[in-house]
Symmetry: C2
Subunit: 122 residues, 2 copies
DNA sequence: TGAACATATGAACATTTGTTCAAACGATTA
DNA sequence: TAATCGTTTGAACAAATGTTCATATGTTCA
């Protein structure tokens, strides 16, 4: 164990140096990956997904969204904030009612791709 | 408060009955939504995203993936299990080395849509 | 057969996440 | 102006998640 002290607990070594180098070279910047993960994380919750789906059918106010989902108005509002921050929904105020709607054309396509996948794997 | 006891603590009422009914009618089944959320959840972690991206460049063994990501072999293995369960990657064994690769064409498209979005909103 | 290696897995732990509850904020209306 | 309504927000809390560590599994090679 003498001269191997510094690597004594490495469990795993590179097997194909060429592949590792080539792939490392083509990898996206880690920050971009983080950003992308944050984006997809938004789709990873059924409450938010339901909101997005509902809004793809019609513009709606917060109370109505809550009614459709069967979720508390507060929970919906919290999730709308996240969707807003990710620029997936926009809103307009009319008196004390706030109407939300989609703010991005990619939503529908991402939705469809996801559905295609889960329909295929079962 | 007499006859309203059952709804006394409802903070929010339906505002547009017609919209709520129409959207409720067109909503997807909740189970489908859950399933879809589970699927997108997989994309919502940067380690898994990096693995998927790396595999879009080349088939790779676990050790090499770990090397490219700078993550422990164990962490990679745990995440590969999730990707496997979601049928996003497949693998083949060659001796004691296991090679992973993509198992779905939607991955690349979903990736691209996500990137398009985050590139637009900044 | 036993040592070495690539990978998988379970338990433990810290972190993140989503909901609820209570309260605050704006806008309307009586 | 006060009460009401639709919405937002912060704190608290339980549940879910990702990593690490230790160990197990399965394969090769000496």
């Amino acid at each position: 164990m003498s001269k191997h002290d510094d690597i004594e607990n490495i469990k795993c070594n590179v097997i194909h140096r060429d592949v590792v180098d080539s792939v490392s070279d083509k990898m996206m910047e880690p920050e971009k990956m983080e950003e992308l993960a944050e984006f997809f994380k938004v789709f990873g919750d059924s409450t938010r997904l339901k909101i997005l789906y509902a809004l793809s059918i019609s513009e709606m106010c917060v109370c109505d969204i809550a009614a459709v989902l069967g979720t508390s108005q507060s929970a919906v509002s919290h999730q709308l904030k996240i969707l807003r921050q990710m620029r997936l929904v926009k809103y307009r105020r009319e008196g004390r009612v706030i109407y939300y709607s989609h703010d991005d054309e990619h939503i529908t396509e991402i939705f469809r791709k996801g559905l295609e996948h889960i329909n295929e794997i079962k």
